[in-house]
């Protein structure tokens, strides 16, 4: 990788928050809390690997619920509908179906980079780590991870208070039938995809690696640690309390989820 980018990463004192199953609203609230903490210099730059306690549809910051979700199907299957703080598209996740991580960094980390360049830089290590597993993956601007076997995942960023949140979700295995019931995909959304029809395929990592989900997660963390350095860490009691407060006040509220109905 480019030496200048490697230096950027290695200048930071990266911390790891390992996977712990959280409710969907808790996962989203924790992103807000940790982004703010890093922005205020109260926490070093951090990699958090997610785990999901339940199934959820996660809407992008600017999406309308009505346009993206079939609420009856979601309710029938006990699927939470939540909204995250970053833009981008809706995702349907299941506890063992996705691999998600967040990177929280000070804005100085992306200084001098365009937004598009920063998206790719944040996920560069994952592309290389997947390469070691035999998956030929590349970045498809703005925010998609593509591979020979199909689209693997996508990223989104939020910026606030002097910090950047970059989070990425990759498909491990897909319940395509359930996804089709719960998420709406309009004709207009697909209108320009004919010219790159190969990209419409999704290539979940289980299918491409034949590995257990936990083994892939372990490999990704080990790769990050070897390349950039990584110190084991946990969510502090203060951060935990703040997370619970934000779940109550924002992320589990109808006002937030349906603010764009």
């Amino acid at each position: 990788m480019i030496a200048e980018q490697l230096a950027r990463w290695r200048e930071q004192d990266w911390r790891l928050i390992p996977p712990r199953p959280l409710a969907p609203a808790e996962n989203l609230a924790l992103d807000e809390v940790l982004t703010q903490r890093v922005g205020r210099g109260e926490r070093p730059p951090t990699l958090r690997v997610w785990a999901w306690a339940s199934r959820a549809v996660i809407l992008g910051r600017f999406q309308s619920v009505r346009n993206e979700v079939n609420p009856d199907a979601a309710a029938a299957h006990g699927i939470d509908i939540v909204r995250r703080i970053s833009g981008g598209g809706a995702m349907f996740v299941e506890p063992e179906g996705a691999i998600t991580y967040s990177i929280y960094a000070p804005e100085s980390f992306v200084q001098g980079l365009s937004f598009a360049e920063s998206y790719e830089m944040f996920d560069r290590w994952v592309l290389d780590a997947l390469g070691e597993l035999g998956v030929n993956a590349w970045y498809q601007p703005l925010n998609d991870i593509a591979s020979d076997g199909g689209k693997i995942g996508g990223a989104a960023q939020a910026r606030r208070g002097g910090a950047v949140l970059h989070h990425t979700t990759m498909a491990y295995q897909m319940s395509t039938d359930l996804l089709g019931q719960v998420l709406r995909v309009g004709q207009e959304k697909l209108s320009d995809k004919g010219i790159r029809s190969a990209d419409r395929r999704v290539g979940p990592l289980r299918q491409q690696t034949d590995m257990e989900r936990d083994d892939i997660v372990h490999h990704l963390i080990g790769f990050f640690r070897a390349r950039y350095g990584l110190t084991d860490d946990t969510v502090t009691p203060e951060e935990e309390a703040e997370m619970h407060r934000l779940v109550q006040e924002q992320f589990s509220t109808r006002d937030w989820t349906y603010f764009l109905p």
Partner: protein, 109 residues
Amino acid sequence: MGITGTREIVDMLHGEYKVPRGKLVVVDLDVVDERLYRVSLTGDFFLYPEEALAPMIAALEGAPAGLGGHEYCLRIARVVPPGTEMLGFSPCAIGIAVVRAQESQAHDR
């Protein structure tokens, strides 16, 4: 947050535009007395800072109906705060969705 508030949009006019190799822009609005009202702007785009959405919606609220996409584009472009990053969409992409929303009226009624 709280840019538009929670509200019912069942009967509103609806227009979508997928930017080639970019994101989806969705506009819902009402036309009353030849002007645009209750404009909502949603989609899977990225906008930094998030607060830049409000002035863009405000630029459309009360604007004359029946203009061309370029006219709406210019109205939006004028109010985008300096330093705003619009990723995967643009003022003119919004303008196209605004026109399509009004065309949905022509087709439906």
